[in-house]
């Protein structure tokens, strides 16, 4: 199969250019081609959310999107959300409130939660549970994930208020 397409996209602020077959899935591009291994694979059928990334401002499961479909897109993965020197409040909150165990779902969870809080900075517990329902965790039972997101929301709102 060699009908490769020229693809340009941006991941975590860095422009990437490469040739890929039309059938190449975006999660494969990220993990295998670009060595961005934060997004994980749990199902490849859009059910688990382990592969969640943000594409042009929307939460997307990168296991069921072709790289060619992301032509020209701006992609953010967990690696672009915060690092050792600039942890995102959600990363802090998940650590603080035991929002993870094996950690496999965590990058997708946090990536999704950044969007959730952007869209709704003051979510109720119900809104969090509904808004996170596309991301499966097998370890935590979600209770502490909900708690972590609530805590991050409070923290982010306080920071915003202080800045205003």
């Amino acid at each position: 199969m060699s009908n490769k397409k020229h693809i340009t996209l941006s991941v975590n602020g860095k422009t990437e250019e490469f040739l890929a077959e039309p059938r190449e899935l975006l999660i494969y591009t990220l993990r295998e081609r670009l060595n961005i291994t934060g997004p994980h694979i749990g199902c490849e059928t859009s059910h688990c959310g382990a592969c969640t990334v943000t594409i042009d401002g929307k939460s997307v499961k990168s296991c069921t999107m072709f790289a060619v479909q992301a032509e020209g897109a701006e992609i953010t993965t967990i690696e672009g959300i915060g690092g050792p020197d600039d942890l995102h409040p959600l990363q802090e909150a998940f650590k603080e409130h035991h929002g993870l165990q094996c950690g496999y779902c965590t990058p997708g969870m946090i990536t999704r939660a950044t969007k959730l809080l952007e869209e709704n900075p003051n979510p109720t517990e119900e809104e969090i549970r509904f808004g996170m329902a596309g991301n499966i965790c097998r370890c935590t039972g979600y209770q502490n994930i909900v708690k972590s997101i609530q805590a991050a929301a409070t923290e982010m709102n306080a920071a915003k208020e202080a800045a205003e």
């Binding site: 199969m1 291994t37 997004p39 994980h40 690696e79 603080e96 993870l100 496999y104 209770q143």
Partner: protein, 808 residues
């Protein structure tokens, strides 16, 4: 020297046992910097994947790999023929059976591994798989174990002698070609006698359906054979890396010192990652053949269809009692569906695991258990899904039998439990089926739980609800689910627990560095339990150095001491004990060093939090930090330099955590949708090392219990097609379906464990499944329901209501 901080502050600084220390693992996971096996990339690494059988039972007439080998990027296609000269076309299972690595003449379940395609990347491997041509001849399929025991169709021809006789299996005589073993415990005749002469006998048949641990990360490995040095390195999702090393050595002939097995970060295990799978063997062979590293990662469908199902027990029970409700005898028979190969992961002498804990938390004087293992055309496995060897089945059985007996006696099920509990003063208690329960205080836990939920109030509310329902005022019923469980974990004493002849001890090795920090290595491996956090806490309390100064390392067989791994809640009971014992060895040497430095006799100093003090003169002391330095810079007469210790711990007994759970549920009779209003979980896991982590384990275990009780199932049709191969059909609850849990505890330390800890990771699953199930069944009790089988998905709940005439 005067100390500027208080003793309390010194204790706090250690972050030792009992505190909710934050996890050290989380920094890398929250930043996407975990190191799971699929993240591993090696130079020139190839990718292997399987051609799998679409049929559940078929003979293989021919395999043609020519077209596949033409695919650009495909380097090799392995079949049983290629493995046979190496003796690797079959492999031993953990249960004393053997299993085909690649189909040898026939297939026994849908999804069975037929050929292994090795290619430069996953896409090329997938293209190659498409072009491998396999000619099958279909055979009659048996998916029902009762039918298997009657059928003329022989599934395992390799286990029938040429003259048609049936040789004994690993667990004794077999009574039919499709029969694997009969295993029993207890006294048959006396039990039958008690039941025959009892005034009250309740009987029930129940099916504990087949399900799957389904961790979010599937199984996988990378094998790398370094032909120059003759060393094989195998990275993988192994819950027992040392056992895998030994197995690989035994079956490949590579000497064990030339094999290094590494378990990197593991994305959940729950029993799925204990066994050895064909993918591991094929990756190793492919690496030897190609001279390159070979990666194999299951996809979700492979995972659900082929590696490690759980449960699938058909259980029949009889429970005898006096009219007042005192239980006098229990009889249990199980027909266990093991699939095409017996690949259960149980200690060798326990082919049905610890199913003989099925007398539960009750003082039952006479009991008998018999289990028949059977082959069918389903995937092999039979692992302990978040439980110690078949304990979930055992607890489900007894907690349902109690409810059924309560119905028969027209008694309150909470009261029936109370009058039959083993009493505090009876511990250590020897159960009718042989186990010696180390400790317990069931009445206290039960009373605390019932009080916390206002049990009486709930029953009154339920009665009102039934009246309202009958009066047409509501279409919602209310169920109160009760369960009281006793787990048996921490396998286990080497005298009766081994896997493939390897005693189930565990180990810890500690090295104290001169500046007063340390590294400890263990024979276990975390899959999310937070060992790096909690084992450091145990050590901090034992050796008086801060947990933050102690690195915990697991999972590399070249560096970690030998151990049997993490499953069956054995890490804390066994490796946790080894950690404490190794710590005590460090402390014993530190005591001598301290005495030398303080110029007193060894017996004149005592340990106090983070130091040794001169008895009666607490201002004279040496901190553990100072002692560590002295161990490396002073020539102390009669004492070797350095400060290290290793301990191999063989536990004298199992530990027996227990708990009391209550679930309150509303059920919409017309839609079959359950709404969990409340879930209260009291756990007694003995000494509590890290309350935050315990609570997290309870939340997670309960959620997996909810899944199993309310919908999660591996189902087959009559042709042996697996109907639940994706997450579309296999139920994993999301945040939306899961309630908030209330957690509580009592503390009954294990008397034989060095720190009194018992293990907790699996209790909530073991106790949770019957609790959710009992809640559903209790809602229908006023309308004549005694028992319906799990999983209680919406359809089945609706069906129960319909069968009871509630839609009329």
């Amino acid at each position: 020297m005067k100390d500027e901080i208080t003793r309390e502050e010194r204790v706090d600084n250690l972050k030792g046992m009992g505190c909710s220390r934050k996890r050290v693992e989380d920094a890398r996971f929250t930043q996407g910097k975990g190191n799971y096996v699929d993240d591993l990339k090696l130079d020139g690494m190839l990718f292997g994947d399987f051609v799998r059988s679409p049929y559940a039972h078929a003979r293989i007439k021919n395999i043609d790999t020519a077209a596949a080998l033409e695919v650009p990027g495909v380097l090799a296609v392995l079949t049983a023929k290629d493995l046979e000269p190496l003796g690797l076309h079959w492999m031993p299972t953990l249960a004393g059976d053997k299993q085909m690595v690649l189909a040898d003449g026939k297939v026994l379940f849908q999804g069975q591994e037929v050929a292994f395609v090795v290619a430069e990347d996953r896409y090329a491997a997938a293209d190659g798989i498409e072009l491998v041509e396999v000619e099958y001849e279909e055979l009659p399929v048996i998916v029902n174990p009762f039918e298997a025991l009657q059928s003329d169709v022989v599934l395992r021809e390799d286990l029938v002698a040429e003259d048609g006789s049936i040789p004994d299996g690993a667990h004794g005589p077999r009574k039919h070609p499709n029969h694997i073993f009969t295993w029993d415990a207890g006294d048959k005749a006396p039990t039958e006698e008690v039941i025959a002469s009892a005034e009250v006998v309740a009987e029930e048949t129940m099916y504990y359906h087949r399900t799957h641990p389904c961790p979010l990360e599937t199984c996988g490995c990378v094998a790398s054979m370094d032909k120059v040095n003759g060393k094989l390195t195998l990275w993988g999702t192994f819950q027992a890396p040392h056992a895998i090393r030994t197995v690989v050595s035994l079956i490949s002939g590579i000497e064990e010192h030339n094999i290094r097995v590494i378990s990197p970060d593991i994305g959940g295990g729950f029993g799925n990652k204990v066994g050895a799978y064909p993918g591991y063997v094929c990756s190793v062979v492919a690496s030897i053949v190609t001279g390159k590293p070979v990666k194999w990662i299951e996809d979700r469908m492979d995972n659900l269809m082929t590696t490690a199902f759980a449960r699938d027990y058909h259980m029949t029970g009889k429970i005898a009692a006096t009219p007042e409700g005192k239980i006098t005898g229990l009889h249990c028979h199980v027909t266990a569906d093991h699939g095409g190969f017996d690949a259960c992961a149980d200690p060798t002498k326990f082919p049905a695991g610890f199913m003989n804990i099925c007398t539960g938390s009750y003082d039952i004087p006479t009991a008998y258990l018999e289990v028949d293992g059977v082959y069918t055309n389903k995937a092999p496995g039979g692992v302990s899904y978040r439980c110690s060897f078949r304990v979930t089945e055992a607890v489900y059985f007894i907690e349902r039998m109690i409810e059924v007996l309560a119905i028969k006696l027209d008694m309150d099920a909470a009261e029936l439990r109370r009058i039959n509990f083993i009493k505090k003063e009876q511990f250590p208690y020897t159960a009718a089926l042989g186990w010696e329960y180390d400790s317990g205080d069931y009445h206290t836990a039960w009373d605390k739980a019932l009080k916390a939920v206002d049990y009486e109030g709930l029953r009154a509310e339920q009665a009102q609800r039934v009246a309202d329902f009958k009066a047409g005022k509501t279409r919602k019923l209310m169920g109160i689910g009760l369960s009281f469980f006793t787990e048996i974990v921490g396998a286990g004493p080497v005298k009766n627990c081994d896997i493939l002849g390897l005693g189930m001890f565990d180990s810890c090795e500690i090295r104290i560095h001169p500046t007063g920090s340390a590294i400890a290595r263990l024979g276990t491996i975390s899959q999310g339990q937070g060992h790096a956090t909690t084992f450091a806490q145990i050590l901090a309390s034992e050796i008086g150095l801060p947990a933050d100064s102690i690195t915990i390392e697991e999972g590399d067989t070249d560096t970690a001491p030998y151990g049997l791994g993490t499953y069956g809640s054995r890490s804390t009971p066994v490796a946790g004990a080894a950690t404490a014992m190794a710590g005590r060895k460090i402390r014993a040497k530190a005591q001598m060093i301290a005495a030398y430095l303080l110029e007193v006799h060894d017996n004149d100093v005592e340990f106090d939090v983070d130091r040794f003090v001169v008895k009666g003169a607490p201002e004279k002391f040496k901190t553990m930090k100072e002692i560590a330095f002295a161990a490396y810079n002073q020539a102390i007469p009669g004492i070797e330099p350095g400060l290290e210790a290793v301990s191999y711990y063989d536990p004298p007994n199992m530990t027996y955590p227990f708990g009391a759970y209550v679930c309150v549920m509303d059920i919409d009779v017309d839609t079959g949708v359950p709404d969990i209003r409340r879930f209260y979980a009291l756990d007694d896991c003995g000494t509590r090392i890290n309350p935050m982590i315990i609570e997290g384990q309870v939340h997670g275990g309960l959620t997996e219990a909810l899944a199993v009780a309310l919908g999660q199932e591996i189902a087959y049709d009559d042709m042996g097609n697996c109907k639940t191969g994706t997450l579309m059909d296999f139920f994993l609850p999301t945040a939306w379906e899961v309630p908030n849990y209330e957690t509580d505890y009592t503390v009954t330390p294990s008397p034989h464990h060095p720190i009194g800890a018992k293990g907790v990771g699996e209790s909530p699953h073991v106790g949770g499944v019957p609790c959710f199930s009992n809640a559903v069944q209790d809602a229908f009790r006023p309308f004549g329901n005694t028992h319906t089988n799990m999983p209680h998905d919406h359809w089945r709940i609706w069906k129960t209501a319909n069968d009871l005439g509630l839609h009329d």
